[in-house]
């Protein structure tokens, strides 16, 4: 496989998870979670710590990363988000509060990195996770395992939201909080679970991303713009849009840089940021409903020759 595609698939899967989590948190609580950055970095460090301190391949620590990320999300909900939601805080305020939380988490991550460096004689500030990986079908296992992992997780999430009672209740609360409340659904619990899943997805995204790019304490900080780009491309009103948006942004970045550098030379590499930015700008200015605004069902029906089937 082409090297750019091999890495690109991993990176795109990571962004899909992260952007999906961002979107979920936004549609549930109107909060743009800045702390997604550090939650992602934490996910990376959980997997890294597992590999260097205990051993084994990275993938066995991904579930743990999810749980830790979820825990960070829950803390954010109880400590920050819920009090502010109860006060009817504006979106900007909600976002700023997560920024503060992100800075605190960042400082803790940096201190942890210091600790690992000094007390454990490790090098956690520039990590190449591929050394802990193994080979599968001639590629780094990550290229095959991570997209599959992402698909499995997202399928599980989908089933949760569609087949379980609480999952349906979550969708109901997100769509119409008042009606859901009138039905007796406890919105507090819904938001709690949203933060659990959102934080967990951020951590999974960070752990996955570390298999594609160098792992640093600012891994999340550096990619937060791309995560936002993916969420915005998705349209910010549908979880599935966010997931797809993240994936498209990630793949477009790698594919774009590869093909553009073929055309114009390697200097293009420095401007890889322009691609997600462009996608984001196009979405905001031309297409505000994003990918999720595209009438997929109608398109599909049109393609397979069915007539519009709203009312029988």
């Amino acid at each position: 496989m082409e090297p750019w595609l091999a890495t690109g698939l991993i990176y795109a899967s990571a962004l899909a998870l992260a952007a999906g989590g961002l979107t979920l948190l936004y549609i549930a609580t109107r909060t743009f979670n800045f702390a997604h950055a550090s939650m992602a970095t934490v996910g990376f460090y959980v997997v890294y710590s597992g590999c260097v301190l205990i051993g084994g391949n990275p993938y066995i620590y991904f579930p743990l990363a999810f749980l830790v990320g979820g825990l960070l999300g829950v803390i954010c909900y109880y400590g920050l988000n819920r009090p502010l939601l109860r006060r009817g805080a504006a979106e900007i305020t909600l976002m700023m509060s997560t920024l503060g939380y992100d800075l605190i988490l960042l400082s803790l991550i940096q201190m942890y990195a210091d600790y690992l460096t000094f007390s454990m004689q490790l090098f956690p500030r520039r990590v190449n996770m591929n050394v802990y990986d193994f080979k599968l079908l001639g590629e780094n296992a990550a290229t095959i395992i991570l997209p599959i992992l992402a698909i499995v997780f997202l399928t599980g999430l989908h089933l949760f939201l569609v087949k379980t009672r609480f999952g349906v209740a979550m969708r109901a609360t997100i769509e119409k909080p008042v009606l859901a409340g009138a039905s007796g659904i406890n919105s507090d619990r819904v938001y709690l679970v949203a933060w659990l899943i959102g934080g967990g997805m951020a951590a999974l995204g960070g752990a996955a991303m570390s298999m594609a790019v160098t792992g640093t304490p600012v891994l999340g900080m550096n990619s937060i713009s791309f995560m936002f780009a993916g969420a915005i491309l998705g349209g910010l009103h549908s979880l599935y849009g966010g997931i797809l948006g993240g994936f498209v942004v990630g793949l477009a970045e790698y594919a774009g840089v590869f093909y553009l550098s073929q055309l114009f030379g390697t200097w293009v590499l420095g401007y890889r940021m322009a691609i997600p930015l462009l996608l984001m700008a196009v979405t905001l200015l031309i297409f505000p409903r994003g990918l999720a605004g595209i009438p997929w069902t109608a398109l599909y029906n049109g393609l397979v020759g069915k007539k519009g089937g709203a009312k029988a």
């Binding site: 209740a169 109901a172 409340g181 009138a182 007796g184 029988a312």
Partner: protein, 250 residues
């Protein structure tokens, strides 16, 4: 069962209800009628804690409902069927009914959902379709079914008859009367079909510009020719007729 004392409420800084006092007796149907903009929906929203209550109290069996989150009201046994936003558009009809029965044990919820599809066969046909694809009238029937599913102590109904064909509207009104008679549910209903509602109702309040213009027995309001023609569009308030319960049922 429900007592509202000196309620002043509205949306944001806009005041809609002025010093409103209303009493809803148990196991009876209390009808609230009045012209558009009178504050009827605001009244229901104030009870459910959805709008801005400036002052006054709302007491449910003596307990204050102030500042309680909506889901706790549902758990106290208050069921609310709004006029707008009363179904989950993105969910299937089946899921909508499942959500309506959220507080019931799963088996009972399933049974009640089954009953609902018997009462409203159109729901059975569309059971797996997203609620957003239903027509206006079908959606309203789903909303009513959702409201009926809960086994509530008190039901707040906001203009149930909107969007319904007259035959179905009649069916629905009779169903509401049945809820009071056979199940002993207390009902507070806001209605535009004033005449029919007052015929099956026990108590009535006429709301105009955020204040009460009439409070008393429903049949008494029907025999007030001035009020009826001025605010309710009832030209010839006939003597109220007690409607037989088993007429034209499901």
């Amino acid at each position: 069962m429900l007592k509202i004392n000196n309620l002043n409420s509205g949306y944001g800084k806009l005041q809609v209800l002025y010093d409103l006092s209303i009493e809803i007796p148990e196991k009876e149907i209390t009808v609230v009628v009045g012209p558009n903009g009178a504050g009827k929906t605001t009244l229901l929203c104030s009870i459910m804690g959805i709008t801005n209550v400036f002052s006054g109290e709302v007491l449910f069996n003596g307990d204050s409902l102030k500042n309680l989150p909506t889901y706790l009201l549902a758990r106290k046994g208050i069921s609310y069927v709004p006029q707008m936003g009363n179904v989950f558009a993105d969910l299937s009809v089946r899921d909508n009914l499942q959500m309506a029965g959220y507080l019931l044990p799963v088996a009972e919820a399933r049974k009640k959902a089954q009953e609902m599809t018997e009462i409203f066969p159109v729901l059975k046909r569309f059971i797996d379709r997203k609620a957003a694809t239903l027509s206006g009238g079908e959606r309203r029937m789903l909303a009513i079914a959702m409201g009926l599913m809960k086994n509530p102590k008190l039901m707040l109904l906001d203009e149930l008859s909107t969007d319904l064909a007259p035959i179905i509207a009649e069916k629905v009104i009779l169903e509401v009367a049945r809820l009071r008679d056979e199940l002993g549910i207390t009902i507070l209903m806001v209605e535009q079909l004033a005449k029919r509602a007052l015929e099956i109702g026990d108590k009535a309040y006429l709301l105009v510009s955020g204040g009460v213009k009439f409070a008393g027995e429903a049949r008494d309001l029907l025999s007030e020719p001035e009020l009826c023609s001025l605010y309710l569009g009832i030209k010839k308030p006939a003597a109220a007729q007690i409607v037989p319960l088993t007429e034209g049922s499901r």
